[in-house]
């Protein structure tokens, strides 16, 4: 069975709940619930035929997505992955435009041209999900370079998985960001599987944050199923970046509760393992913690949940009634300058 081994690296702990503004805690809970329910609803609507393409749900990874995004400022930017719905919602994405994009509609975030794998909202600083596991990391470094060149105190955070650290683009980007001390956060969601192969069969080390040392910046490990630990680590990394001290690699140890893609037969892991991790479900854990500490009562959290479900009903209705693109739209928007159509 795959479990994350105990680490010897620097780890980060969250502060007691009383140290946080309750409105922040409630927003964390709301966004995590929205991510979870968005994924479950998208899976359902794919089965129902509303969503034509494949999707890679992030069920079980809500804490890394939401904890990281809420620790950033509005004008900070992120690059995302194939498992990116949580990242967009974490950054404030609107489920209506998300669902419409997944349904391939003209009013989706990307006019139906990108789908789940390429969803983006530059207004929210979400520079795109990505079909290539390390593909977004150099882009985040470039965004950090732009902030550096203009003297802006902004931060670029690259989300990626444990699989991506074995792709060359990660190495080049991490080296460059470390060399130039760019305001970049390398946010690794180690969910123990790269597609259908366990992490321990893909790299000779289990603590991927150790790689940071080779690039000259700190590597930090957090419990990726603890939203507050993720939040603290990213908050500290962002402070470091804004102070001109360069990148931080944060490894959030987490688990992908569903398949690599929806419909994945998952022959590569056991029922026992999945049960083990379900007992460490980040949304359930955070809800329990909020209740036990008496920050919110069950009624308040139930209301949040109900509102989220209602919001998703609206999102699905929006997507269903959204216009289907006309075939002529396929030829639009490849270039900014088309030279009187010559490029086609």
């Amino acid at each position: 069975m795959s479990e994350h081994p105990v680490s010897a690296l620097e780890t980060i702990s969250s502060q007691p709940l009383s140290a946080y503004d309750p409105s922040l805690l409630l927003e964390m809970f709301r966004r995590m619930t929205l991510v979870r329910e968005f994924e479950l609803r998208a899976i359902e609507e794919r089965r129902n035929g509303l969503i034509p393409g494949f999707i890679h749900p992030c069920v079980g990874q809500e804490a890394t997505a939401v904890g990281a995004c809420l620790a950033l400022k509005q004008d900070d930017v992120i690059t995302s992955t194939h498992r990116g719905h949580g990242h967009l919602i974490g950054k404030g994405g609107d489920p209506r435009y998300m669902m419409a994009e997944l349904a391939g509609r003209s009013t989706g975030y990307c006019l139906g041209r990108g789908g789940s794998l390429h969803i983006a909202d530059f207004d929210l600083g979400m520079l795109g999900a990505n079909g290539i596991v390390a593909g977004g990391i150099p882009i985040a470094v470039g965004a950090g370079l732009a902030f550096h060149l203009r003297g802006e105190k902004r931060v670029a955070l690259a989300f990626f998985g444990d699989g991506a650290v074995n792709q060359g683009a990660f190495h080049e980007a991490a080296n460059m960001a470390g060399l130039w001390k760019l305001p970049v956060i390398f946010m690794c969601e180690n969910n123990l599987y790269g597609e259908g192969t366990p992490q321990h069969k893909q790299a000779p080390i289990a603590d991927l944050a150790r790689r940071a040392e080779g690039y000259g910046f700190p590597g930090v490990i957090v419990d990726g199923n603890d939203v507050l630990e993720v939040y603290e680590a990213v908050r500290m990394a962002a402070e470091r970046a804004r102070a001109g001290l360069g990148p931080t690699f944060i490894e959030g140890k987490t688990y992908r509760q569903r398949g690599h893609y929806e419909g994945d037969p998952m022959v590569y892991r056991t029922q026992e393992e999945m049960e083990y991790w379900k007992a460490r479900d980040p949304v359930v854990l955070f809800r329990r913690r909020l209740l036990e500490a008496g920050v919110f009562d069950a009624q308040t959290l139930d209301k949040v949940h109900q509102d989220v479900l209602h919001q998703l009903d609206e999102a699905v209705a929006f997507a269903k009634s959204a216009p289907i693109p006309g075939p002529e739209e396929a030829l639009l928007g490849v270039y900014g300058d088309t030279h009187n159509g010559l490029v086609f």
């Binding site: 207004d123 150099p138 470094v141 965004a143 080049e172 088309t338 010559l342």
Partner: protein, 329 residues
Amino acid sequence: MREITFAEAIREALREEMHRDASVFIMGEDVGVFGGVFGVTAGLYEEFGPDRVRDTPISESAIVGGGLGAAMMGMRPVVEIMFGDFLMCAGDQIVNQAAKARYMSGGKAKVPLTIRVTTGAPGSAAAQHSQSPESWFMNVPGLKIAVPATPADAKGLLKTAIRGEDPVLFFEHKMLYAVRGPVPEDPDFTIPFGAANLARAGRDLTIIAIGGMLAKALEAADALSQEGIEAEVIDPRTLVPLDKDALIRSAAKTGRVVIAHEAHKRAGPGAEIAALLAEEAVEYLDGPIMRVAAKNVPIPYSPVLEEEVLPGVDDILAAARFLMGGAKA
């Protein structure tokens, strides 16, 4: 008009655009202190400093991807890939990321990114430093491809690339860097993409010459003129977009077409141009469309072997004479 070299023309374009727009910056391997392995960026580091003329690690993915991310954030990066052969190291960032970002995001991503890269065989540089990879990227929607053949075109096209809104692969033939020619001094001199240059007018046949082959085509045309054959020479200047009207017009005028490029013959730029003419201009043609190109083997090291593989003036002459009724070489 004053004459400067192809390399100086590129440097002048870079300098002027960096003065004109603070969002323009340069990065690449050895572009700073070294001044570029071909000397193109010499002096710019001293003038603009290490931030805007940025030496990078040998990391082509991060150079292109870094340029892409900076472009998305409103900069106008000019990144340099030292040899066209090395573009493959940045393949994902060029093909899957930069080329498609605007389209996939429904127009949210804007990618004003210029990728300067050298192309062609400089002589005994062998198979990994001599390729002409232009056509590999013609098959990728979202990219634009410039192939300047003169100093003036190099300056004018580079300024258009930098001021434009899209990712551009800007191919500079290594053997052109020292070539001199008249170049306008007007800082707003630009050359539009998709506008072919009629380098020589003629009535008997058309030679479509790309990049480093333009000078060879003009030399061939002079020789043909001695034989009473007047060749028209056209340089497309950009392969994407392609000024197909100009090519069709010339084909219609002469009825005979030779396409000359240094890229390998199989699926090189000439394959696309020939197919286009076959589709849209076949009724004007009096003979087959001939391609003069590198033979389909890796570019060899030893001079005799290399000369056998690369296309030259003689190959253009042979194709032209065949079209004019001579024997096939």
